[in-house]
């Protein structure tokens, strides 16, 4: 695994071997830098990891679908050659009690037939909605694929960029501009209410706005994330929106192999305990085993709180910056439950498994989702949560023994701060797991009897196991005040930090969390652009 090195000193040490750390490493190595990646766990991937927790079953433990992985990264790092294979999601199924539910298919005609069972009018409008959203998404893609604009700068380059963003927005016509303003500020439900009447359709559509946030579908600001689904479409569904073959860890491994092919060195079971700072400058890292590694540049792919308050230490930072990091919101709100089952789950009213070749949303109504949120607000996990489940083994038999299956469930809400205190999560873990299984089993009789193994991850577990502060899967909430030029702190949205030679490349930086790889890529570009050296010094 390790490439041969002439000297022990590295141009860049990257803390954390998640997908962003690995993408960043690959880009730096590709530009000829000597790069070392240090991962605390025994496996690479961070929250994008595959593990065999039960013999014969490969679990995508945390992140379970590839959302917006940037096509430019796949191309530039030749990830396909390094083993990346993404299987597109074909369906979105919403079961309903006493009914065959709603399935949206990649075939628009089929989707239309399904929706018209609930509302012919909605079925009529649905394609128009998709088209409008795709147009919007095309504009937003500009923001994801470039560093965050800075509206407070006087620099002519920045002003020009702002002006250009404004002009491109105007080119979308007045309807487009109005829609953007509304997407930015409205709640997912209010926004969808403008288009659709059927709650059977609106409920599962609205949930994409709350994934990983501590908000409800009626909370303003949740509409914007609806765009993400359509962003996948324009990137080309076959590359950016789906399962990774062999599990989500496949994405990380492909990035790792690419990085290594460019000469990067990667070490697992190498926990970084702190980042060494002398005279306002990062000089190296100290490992848990006491080893010290020097480097010209240190890059942290960990979340901002862990990076600055944990690895660096507030004594090296000025008070105002520390306050900004302290108030940065990370309230984790979701859990994962992964199952190994001995047969395919059965949903009454539907035969076969065609309708399961995508995701399954337990989102039977707006009030249901709001009630789930209300419980979380007051410090409880939702007894009847929103669940997004996938059964990757249907499309990728390599992850489970023949005839048997893996069910990977994303569950919201599971607030980090339960009223008993986060440290009491271990005592509630199985109760939470039971609530999730009970919920799914209502729609899926016989589920409980088919379970061979169950893994329950609470936000507390995610913090412990994956180093995600407060279990936040996005390294910080994706709320308006924590995006763009404010992520993670005002004036520090360009991957640099107040510590010289220390950079950030994780989901806590622009454009944020999700399996995109964009922060890692943009951070590497920023470093390479700064005097041609990865050092800001």
């Amino acid at each position: 695994m390790t490439a041969i090195r002439k000297s022990g000193r590295y141009d860049a040490v990257i803390v954390g071997g998640g997908h962003n750390g690995l993408v960043c490493a690959a880009y730096l190595a590709r530009a000829g830098r000597k790069v070392l990646v240090l991962e605390r766990r025994h496996v690479l991937g961070g929250a994008a990891v595959t593990e065999e927790l039960y013999p014969g079953f490969q679990f995508s433990v945390c992140s379970y679908v590839v959302s917006l992985f940037r096509p430019s990264i796949i191309r530039e790092l030749e990830l396909a050659r390094h083993g990346l294979e993404i299987i597109p999601l074909e369906t979105a199924f919403t079961p309903r009690l006493g009914d065959r539910g709603l399935c949206r298919w990649s075939d628009p005609a089929r989707t239309r037939r399904e929706i018209s069972r609930f509302s012919p009018r909605d079925a009529e409008i649905h394609p128009e909605f998709s088209l409008a959203m795709t147009k919007m998404a095309r504009y937003v893609r500009n923001l994801i694929d470039s560093p965050a604009p800075d509206p407070t700068s006087w620099n002519p380059v920045e002003l020009w960029r702002l002006l250009r963003l404004g002009r491109e927005l105007q080119r979308q016509g007045s309807d487009g501009v109005a829609m953007h303003l509304r997407l930015l500020t409205m709640s997912a439900v209010d926004f969808l209410d403008r288009w659709f009447e059927s709650e059977v359709l609106k409920a599962p559509m609205s949930v994409s706005g709350i994934i990983g946030t501590f908000l409800g579908v009626r909370s303003p600001g949740t509409a914007y994330v609806l765009l993400h689904h359509y962003m996948g479409e324009i990137d080309g569904a076959f590359r950016s929106w789906g399962y990774s073959k062999g599990g989500t860890g496949g994405v990380s491994l492909a990035c790792a192999r690419a990085a290594e092919s460019f000469g990067a060195e990667i070490r697992t079971e190498s926990a970084v305990e702190r980042i060494r700072v002398a005279a306002g400058r990062a000089t190296g890292v100290v490992l848990a085993n006491g080893d010290e590694i020097e480097a010209g540049t240190i890059v942290s792919s960990c979340d901002p709180r862990l990076t600055f308050l944990g690895l660096v230490g507030s004594k090296h930072l000025d008070g105002d910056f520390v306050r900004q990091i302290e108030r940065y919101k990370l309230r984790g709100s979701s859990g994962k439950v992964n199952l190994a089952v001995d047969r395919l789950p059965r949903f009454p009213g539907r035969e076969g498994s065609d309708f399961l070749r995508g995701d399954i949303a337990i989102a039977p109504g707006i009030d249901y989702l709001e009630r789930a949120y209300d419980q979380a607000k007051y410090g409880e996990f939702s007894e009847r949560p929103y669940i997004n489940a996938v059964i990757p083994s249907i499309m990728d038999p390599s992850v489970a023994p023949p005839g048997q299956h893996v069910i990977s469930m994303f569950v919201q809400y599971a607030p980090y701060d339960i009223k008993e205190g986060a440290d009491n999560w271990p005592a509630k873990r199985e109760a939470f797991g039971d609530a999730v299984v009970d919920t799914l089993a209502e729609y899926c009789p016989g589920l409980k009897e088919s379970i061979l193994y169950r893994q329950v991850l609470t936000p507390w577990d995610m913090e412990q196991e994956f180093g995600l502060s407060e279990g936040n899967i996005f390294h910080g909430e994706l709320s308006l005040e924590q995006l763009l030029f404010q992520r993670p702190a005002a004036g520090w949205a360009r991957y640099r930090t107040p510590i010289r030679n220390l950079w950030m490349c994780g989901s806590g930086t622009h454009p944020g969390g999700g399996l995109m790889g964009a922060p890692g890529q943009l951070a590497a570009q920023a470093m390479l652009n700064s005097n041609g050296k990865p050092s800001s010094g």
Partner: protein, 511 residues
Amino acid sequence: MTERYDIVVIGAGHNGLTAATLLAEKGRRVLVVEARDTVGGLAAGAEFHPGYRHAGILDDTRLVRPWVVDELGLDRFGLRRREPTDLLVPETGGQGLVLATTVKGSEGLSANDAESLAGYQAFLDRIAPGFAGLLDRPPIDLVDTGAGDLLRLGLAGLRLRRLGRHDLMEFLRVVPMPVADWLGEWFASDLLKAALAGPAIYSTYSGPRSPGTNANLLFSAARSEDPVAGGAPALIGAIERAARARGVEIRTGVAVTRLVIEAGRVRGIELAGGECVATGSVAASCDPRQLFLDLLPPAALALSLEAELLSFRTRGTAAKVHLALSGYPQFSSRPGRLFEQVRTGEALDELERAFDAAKYRRFSERPVLDIRFPSIETPELAPDGHHVASILVSFAPYELAGGWTESAREGLYRAVLAVLDEYAPGIERLIVGREVLTPADLAERYRLSQGHLFHGEHALDQLLIRPTPQCSKYATPLAGLYLCGSGSHPGGGLTCAPGALAAQAIRSNDM
């Protein structure tokens, strides 16, 4: 039909009267028609029990904009400001807080919170001019941006940049935040946070955890002046005198039933009873949805505009309760003292739970109350020694499950009484009369869509585009028809700004 009026203003509320007065210059003939028997709309006082009057459904006169007062010359018509009064935030089994305009004058704050409150107010004072500047000028049309809009956008940007990089960043950060998160960054006391958060969620479809509610907090904080002596009725009295002095004709008790439209142009209005009044221009201070959907002939509007109007959110969530009291109630947190304003809610979660009910189309079992006793300043509102309590009740949704039946109304009153009794035990013995106005009552009595006191929700999207992209600058697609009420920029409340800004727009467009 001969044109006897250059312009007819629909509605004699604070915005309608403001617009009419500012339009009645240079001999222009202006008529105001009001469906109710009195002028004032939501700002009008009324007798709700024999011998007891309230001082307006909307009664926060601190929002009235000074520049509008100047333009109207209201000083000459008897408008005076007075010292703001203290606010009591009662607490079960404790002394609660008394919030004055200064931190020093406030009582019950911890040393830390007192220091934070000073910093908080200093920040608000710094950003107030920039923020108020956005709200005191015509809206910047972000949708159909013309050269003028770009210039104004640029100027607004420059003004904001004057805040300095730090405050500007902070301003941009805090505007879209949930009020709970922002106040949480400043203060430790639950009581203080709840008291400050209240105005940000009253009459909205949000709880303190909803993003964007901080904009409402800044909205009122950045524009708070001294209140008007005599309250909303005194404000209305002054504007009415100003209007009449300029020759504005005001007819009350006449409802407009229809606008006469010919070839996409306003030609006149038709009144109940069949009378037609010819005019080339109409400025409507009524709620925009009522105007467009009820007063226009069928097919006068493009379908797209109709769809936009139907999506303009007007979910009323507040009720009003007026109490006739035989004496001032004793608040056990501060017995023996008279407070003109009392605000309940002991923690942000209590406010949030009160909102939760509205989501499921129920009224809050434990509502949060914003209580005013206008009879302290104006004893004539009640018999000697008696008092009037005017209570804004959150949350009570217009769309109540099961509808607003008599028993639902009684249930809401009981819920309000239970909260009152907790802080002022025995208050029920003082009650000699009452009026409970549910959102359904408000909708009917004041012709408000879904009983919304602001003619439309104050949410970020509806503050940026108000009420629809085509009608956001007071003009409408129908020539000669303008909006001049709370459904337009900068929104509801007793600011008089929509009326004044609409008058500017009408003067520059039309006349």
